[in-house]
Amino acid sequence: MTGTGCESPYDVHGHGVRVRTEDAALAFSAREALGGFGPAPDGGEPMLEIELHAVARRTDVPVRPSAAAVLVGHAPQPGGTVGCAMLRDGPLWLLDFDDAGLFALDLDAGRVEGWLVEPGRMAPDWAASFVLLAAIELLRTRGIYAVHGAALEKSGRGVLIAGPSGCGKTTACLALARAGYRVLSDDHPLLRFAAAGPELLPFPGRIAVTERTIGWFPELRQAQDGFRQDTRKRSFDLADVAGYRTGHACRPALLVFPRIMECDRSVLEPLGKARALEELLPQTLLVLDAALAARQFQSMAALVRETPAYRLYFGEDVAALPQRIDRLLEAA
């Protein structure tokens, strides 16, 4: 810690990620986003660097797109409903969050510098999601890919449940966790591809749930003291709930793409590999650097080639899901 801020090197599966900030709210956000990882050791490969600044107004952001900047697209703004503009500006990628701030990414240098407008007034999960975004983009340069999804492990075999917000990922995750599956992440597990094959990696952190989900899993109220109200959900630490466990790195054995349905009985049906790839890519791939994107694209294609995929039409029979997933895992 330095002053009110922090300089925290985190060890993200062998890659050091250092967050520097002098702002207390941003330091808190950094710990929220990455604090589940242990401290990074000194030495080894260069750190991935994230430097964050708090500003009072958007006009205080010192970086502005140059005349040569090219708008290459829009991406969802972390935790928000407004899109962020992506611009290529010389060696930098600029992520312009409009009134919320701006990030400048130098992917070749492994560095992100960001300015957020009054981060202390942001909901904790929203502010943390900006730190997370910076870390995810930097980890991509090291061949570690975050997936918008939940991941669990049982007997060393991984289940990746991917899909957009509101599709039932967290509910499916908790249903499996209650039945003994170990949780790697409920929102953004990581994937790494080595010569031996793909590996699902945990991303430790709080689990965010809606009141409706708590209704399905009343035992979560054990974490009552640890609940914190975020923008749309309440979040808690899995360690506060008896019977729920966290998991370790494992080989992905099953891909599940849920979709909540208004029906009593859930249906799991095999998903073609091309469809699975179409479902997976939007949950993991943001195209900035072309070479990095092409490499990730091929990695994800390799994953769907060798991993059975299913569409889960998720009905009201939440408690029946673990048995069904058990059977698919046995068959995989």
């Binding site: 290459v72 697209g73 073609g272 590999k273 091309a274 790839l277 179409e278 890519l281 939007p282 791939l285 943001l286 195209v287 072309a290 994107a293 092409a294 694209f297 091929q298 294609a301 769907v304 080639r305």
Partner: protein, 156 residues
């Protein structure tokens, strides 16, 4: 070069207030079209439609040069792609958009090596699928037009 068949520029079911016979006769009694030449109507309609909708409706870009069997078409270097279970999934690295091709489209995509002419690909498609000459060309040309419109291929 095979002629591209004349078609109604917008399927009738999408324009129930208009009739546009394929035989070139004037619009029927239910129609409200002015006495405008068909090419001009086609151009005006295409102007009103986005590229994607034009493609869905089978209406080509009026300014795009026609395709011929002597032309050579190659996959853009800005596209990452893979074939899984016989279907190609394409990622446009310039735009970040994804595309999928069905098995026939995938077979054609794999032949777009920047060396073969469209005529040679037409022959290859006819050799591989049970399809008549005209339909094979029509489908090949439609796909290449779409790929060209999305800048997934380059032409020469």
């Amino acid at each position: 070069m095979p002629d591209e068949p004349e078609k109604a520029f917008i399927p009738r079911h999408l324009r129930p207030d208009l009739t546009f016979p394929d035989d070139g006769s004037p619009p029927g009694p239910g129609g409200t079209l002015p006495d405008t030449p068909r090419p001009e109507l086609r151009r005006r309609a295409a102007d009103l439609l986005g590229a994607a909708l034009r493609d869905c409706l089978g209406v080509g870009d009026p300014d795009a040069p026609p395709l011929g069997p002597e032309q050579v078409c190659g996959r853009s270097s800005d596209v990452a792609w893979t074939a899984v279970d016989g279907e190609a999934v394409l990622l446009d690295l310039a735009s970040g958009y994804y595309f999928s091709l069905n098995p026939v489209g995938t077979a054609i995509w794999e032949l777009l090596d920047g060396e073969r002419t469209l005529g040679a690909i037409h022959d290859a498609v006819r050799g591989r699928f049970r399809v008549d000459r005209e339909t094979a060309w029509e489908d090949l040309a439609a796909l290449v037009r779409r790929l060209r419109g999305e800048k997934l291929v380059t032409m020469r």
